[in-house]
């Protein structure tokens, strides 16, 4: 899809004309500076990779460089708009710090010492395959774990381990993020929430966000929809210990005491039931267990909740009545990162039950019912195992393992069926319940995602094989035995992305240009490795284009057509009425209805109705460590991106202004954060602010890199992950509750670092 020839000529003529006015000397320099858009621009459809919202984009390419990406209207994720991370994402492809060639750790050097020699792909892949086959012979295929995150993770965390025969495949997006809300949704609605939270924003009239940072986690469509809902006049209530961006837009801010959310939810249910404000017809028709629920919430009055939450009983009552007045167009959307205190599945159950009392699930202004698009798999021979990692759209389904295969190493530690990534670290150290001696890390940042970094480092040091596939020399990557440099999202095809949605759709990523340096796409790496492992039969396709073309045939398309479309949209069944027309209901629970009371949880020995557990108190002199997102950064992935780092080069620690004064911190001061186990992070700038309670501090996630090869990221800010040396395992979902960590602040000198701009200027010169 090129620019129309005529407009291209017109533009270049204008540029040439302008230049000719100048003198001879400037003619050369300014001709060189002719902007990219005056040259021949190709446009290529792709999918953004700077977060996992996965917006459809159009890349503008000149030669071997993408200058600009934009959303496009036909794509239901971007709809023609992009967030800052998406806009700035191409800068990563041209980052001089990228991994450029396969690397093998120098024999005899220690893991983590960072001594490597360059290798050919042939040698690197042979090395890995040989080691894998020997581990398989000695310990079995389950002795290799596969961790990954990103659009390409399907090759390495779903497909390859299932073909290879290891159930130990895991993604951080499950037990370090969405597990509680997804498991709770299964026990309540019998359906996933999914990666695109299915809220009917355009029609909602009343929104209650609990710890949900819209505007700071710039999930593009969600931000668009939420903004539109507010423009339409929807009322907004924000429950957060911090005056978040969303709180700044709210009609009411409830600065709740951290960790007491379930008490608030129970009190709201109490009011709806005690004052007869809930949707009786809906509850009767679509739910089971109302009588038990009514009896259960009877003692949880707003006065009781006020003592726990520090929110006035009167306010609790008023908000409950306002919700009821707007029902069913009142909604409490589930946030994505729900691993907070360890009892998180129960909190999410409480949230869903409250939504059900408002009668909003499957109805306009509430939750729509998301359906996945129709798309067939590539016909390979049956894999020995079912992919087991799950994802942010819910847990895996594998209940038991086929004969001859071991169960996943974390089985039995919690109720859910999906793998909990943090529970696979221990077996690497103890060899129990069986040894895990090998690890693949694709795209995930082991140290900035998994809590208890010292334990992770100990585990890495014990492995027989550790392979990292990445685009940047992240700290954990530089511990690997073999480092495989992947092509970035602009340089590769990936598998089709199929999104469950109000209008289900399929989107395509295709390369904008050839991979730079000696980098390779994930699909190629997986296939080449498969060949060496004796798994050729599972990779019967010649190349990715044949693979994609075959899958697209199943929906009446082909790759060439899809390349011109970017996105294919299908019809969904978003409302209960759509299902009732077909005489069915969407609920996949045992009862076939929304389960306010969960018989399944009762049978498994858990509370069938959500019970409030007060949070553990912070030790004397410590603040609870809260964390969240910056709108211009994603996880620990973007802190070496020159454009995004210029926008926000570091995080800062939010400290209540009065506390700051008490501790003697002034504007511009720096602090170390020291946690309850003596781990120290920083120096990090102190943001003395009115925008947070006195009992907590807050930092954005993703900073505090300790990777020498990442010249912009290294040493800037503080890492919340390194300070999370503890977590509380959610016994239902396997989620790792991360908010039971505490820090105190110690005065620190300003860090001696070149500014990001200075480094970028030196690069240019």
């Amino acid at each position: 899809m090129k620019l129309e020839r005529r407009s291209f000529l017109k533009l270049s003529a204008a540029a040439v004309g302008a230049v000719s006015v100048g003198g001879a000397a400037t003619l050369v320099s300014r001709a060189k500076a002719a902007p990219w858009y005056t040259q021949e621009v190709r446009q290529v459809f792709s999918i953004c990779e700077n977060c996992f919202w996965r917006c459809g984009i159009k890349a503008s390419v000149v030669g071997n460089r993408v200058y600009k990406v934009e959303g496009y209207k036909e794509n239901p994720k971007s709809r023609g708009m992009l967030c800052p991370r998406g806009q700035g994402a191409p800068a990563q492809t041209y980052d001089p710090d990228r991994l450029k060639k396969p690397l093998i750790r120098v024999e005899g050097s220690e893991r983590g010492a960072g001594q490597y020699r360059e290798a050919t792909w042939e040698e690197a892949l042979d090395y890995i395959a040989k080691k894998m086959l020997s581990l398989k012979e000695q310990y079995g295929p389950e002795s290799i774990a596969f961790f990954g995150h990103g659009t390409g993770d399907g090759w390495f965390v779903d497909f390859l381990p299932a073909a290879w025969g290891s159930p130990n495949a895991a993604k951080p997006s499950v037990s370090l993020c969405t597990a509680p809300r997804e498991v709770a949704a299964q026990y309540t609605f019998g359906r996933a929430i999914g990666g695109h939270e299915p809220i009917d924003w355009p029609n909602t009239r009343y929104i209650v966000l609990i710890g949900h940072h819209i505007g700071e986690d710039t999930h593009n469509t969600q931000l668009q929809d939420w903004s539109q809902a507010r423009k339409n006049g929807a009322k907004l209530v924000v429950v957060d210990p911090r005056f978040s961006t969303a709180a700044a837009k709210a009609d009411r801010w409830l600065p709740i005491k951290p960790g007491t959310d379930t008490a608030l939810l129970l009190a709201w249910m109490h009011v709806l039931i005690a004052e007869n404000l809930y949707d009786k017809a809906y509850v009767q028709k679509y739910t089971v267990g109302f009588e038990q629920l009514a009896a259960h919430v009877k003692p949880y009055t707003p006065e009781w909740a006020e003592k726990e939450t520090e929110i006035p009983a009167q306010v609790i009552r008023e908000v409950a009545r306002e919700m009821a007045r707007h029902k069913p167009k009142a909604v409490l959307p589930p946030t994505r990162h729900t691993v907070w205190y360890g009892n998180d599945t129960q909190r999410m159950r409480a949230l869903y039950i409250l939504n059900a009392l408002l009668g909003n699930y499957g109805r306009e202004g509430g939750f729509y019912i998301a359906m996945p698009p129709y798309l067939e798999k590539y016909p390979t021979p049956p894999l020995p195992l079912e992919p087991n990692a799950g994802g942010c759209s819910g847990p895996a389904k594998a209940e038991s393992e086929p004969e001859g295969y071991k169960p996943r190493a974390d089985k039995g530690k919690f109720l859910a069926k999906s793998t909990a990534i943090q529970e696979l670290i221990e077996p690497m150290i103890t060899g129990k319940p069986y040894p895990i001696q090998g690890l693949f890390a694709y795209g995930i940042n082991l140290f900035h995602a998994i809590p208890n970094v010292p334990r992770t480092k100990e585990a890495l040091s014990k492995l027989d094989l550790y392979v990292a596939i990445d685009v940047l020399p992240q700290e954990h990557v530089m511990w690997a035995d073999v480092i495989l440099p992947e092509a970035t999202y602009l340089e590769r095809y990936d598998d089709l992305v199929a999104v469950a949605h109000k209008t289900p759709f399929i989107e395509l990523r295709m390369p904008a240009h050839e991979p730079l340096w000696d980098t390779k796409p994930g699909w190629w790496i997986a296939k080449e490795l498969g060949k060496r492992l004796g798994l050729e039969q599972f990779f019967p396709w010649k190349d990715i284009e044949e693979y994609l073309d075959t899958r697209l045939q199943s929906v009446g398309l082909d790759l060439e057509t899809m390349k011109q479309m970017g996105t294919m949209v299908q019809n969904g069944k978003p409302w209960l009425t759509d299902w009732e027309k077909e005489n069915t209901l969407p609920f996949g629970t045992l009862s076939g209805k929304i389960e306010l009371y969960s018989e399944a949880l009762a049978k498994a020995g858990f509370d069938p109705l959500p019970v409030y557990e007060p949070p553990e108190a912070a030790p004397e002199g410590f603040y609870r460590l809260l964390y969240g997102r910056s709108p211009v950064h994603t996880f620990a992935r973007t802190q070496n991106n020159p454009v995004l780092m210029e926008m926000e080069p570091s995080n800062s620690v939010w400290l209540n202004a009065e506390e700051a004064q008490r501790l003697g911190f002034k504007a511009g001061d720096y602090a170390y954060l020291v946690n309850q186990d003596g781990v120290r992070e920083g120096p990090v700038r102190v943001k003395a602010t009115q925008r947070i309670r006195k009992d907590a501090v807050y930092i954005t996630h993703g900073f505090g890199h300790k990777a020498k090869g990442m010249s912009l990221a290294n040493g800037r800010g503080a890492s919340d992950s390194y300070l999370q040396t503890r977590y509380t395992l959610d016994p239902i979902s396997g989620g790792a509750g991360l908010r039971n960590n505490y820090v105190k602040l110690e005065k620190a000198p300003a860090p001696r670092l070149k500014s990001v701009v200075q480094i970028l200027k030196e690069r240019r010169a």
Binding site: P35, T38, S227, A248, A657, Q690, V756
Partner: protein, 194 residues
């Protein structure tokens, strides 16, 4: 002729900087310089608070101080009311940079003053400026203030509170802020230090 301007609705803006990054990419703005930036200021005391997220850029003033100070005529106003720089006439003397009360200009090392153009190259193709097109909160409206049927005119007509930056300078900015969150209007302006 048209009178091109822009509205920024501060009740919608979340300060995410999508506009600033889009601008940086579209115009390949060099490191250390910006044509568009975000200010964030909190107002009030716990728990009675508000935060102003405010993008700033060249205001394409109707009475631009940067134009008369230019010794070579490089800074000029187009018939559409845009304030632009002719890179070939510019000698990078910096007079316009000093004259701008909004700190909207910088000297490009290639030898000329530079700033927001409202993406005139995109307007010429019938597109929106990059900052407007990408805004995920629908905070920005661009168009012809003289056309009563344009979206910008209609939005302005229906809008509540309207402010411009430093009205006392008499520059008559065409970037207009709607719905400033503080009752006192736009928060205090300070000079930007890069």
């Amino acid at each position: 002729m048209a009178r091109l301007g822009m509205l920024i609705d501060l009740s919608a803006c979340v300060g995410c900087a999508a506009c600033a990054v889009a601008c940086k990419m579209e115009n390949q703005v060099p490191a250390g310089a910006s044509r568009l930036w975000i200010r964030e200021r909190e107002v009030g005391t716990f728990p009675n608070l508000t935060v102003e997220f405010r993008p700033e850029q060249c205001n394409h003033c109707e009475n631009p101080p940067c134009v008369p100070v230019c010794p070579t005529g490089a800074s000029y106003q187009t018939p559409d009311g845009l304030v632009q720089v002719d890179y070939n006439k510019c000698i990078a003397c910096g007079a316009c940079v000093a004259a701008c009360p909004y700190d909207a200009r910088y000297i490009n090392k290639k030898g000329y003053a530079d700033k927001c153009t409202f993406c005139s190259h995109r307007i010429a193709k019938g597109q929106q400026p990059a900052c407007v097109e990408t805004c995920p909160t629908y905070a920005r409206v661009f168009g012809d203030l003289d056309d009563p049927n344009s979206e910008i005119s209609k939005t302005l007509k229906a809008a509540g509170r309207q402010d411009v930056l430093r009205p006392e300078m008499g520059t008559r900015p065409k970037v207009i802020y709607l719905n400033a969150p503080s009752k006192k209007g736009l928060t205090q302006e300070v000079t930007r230090h890069d």
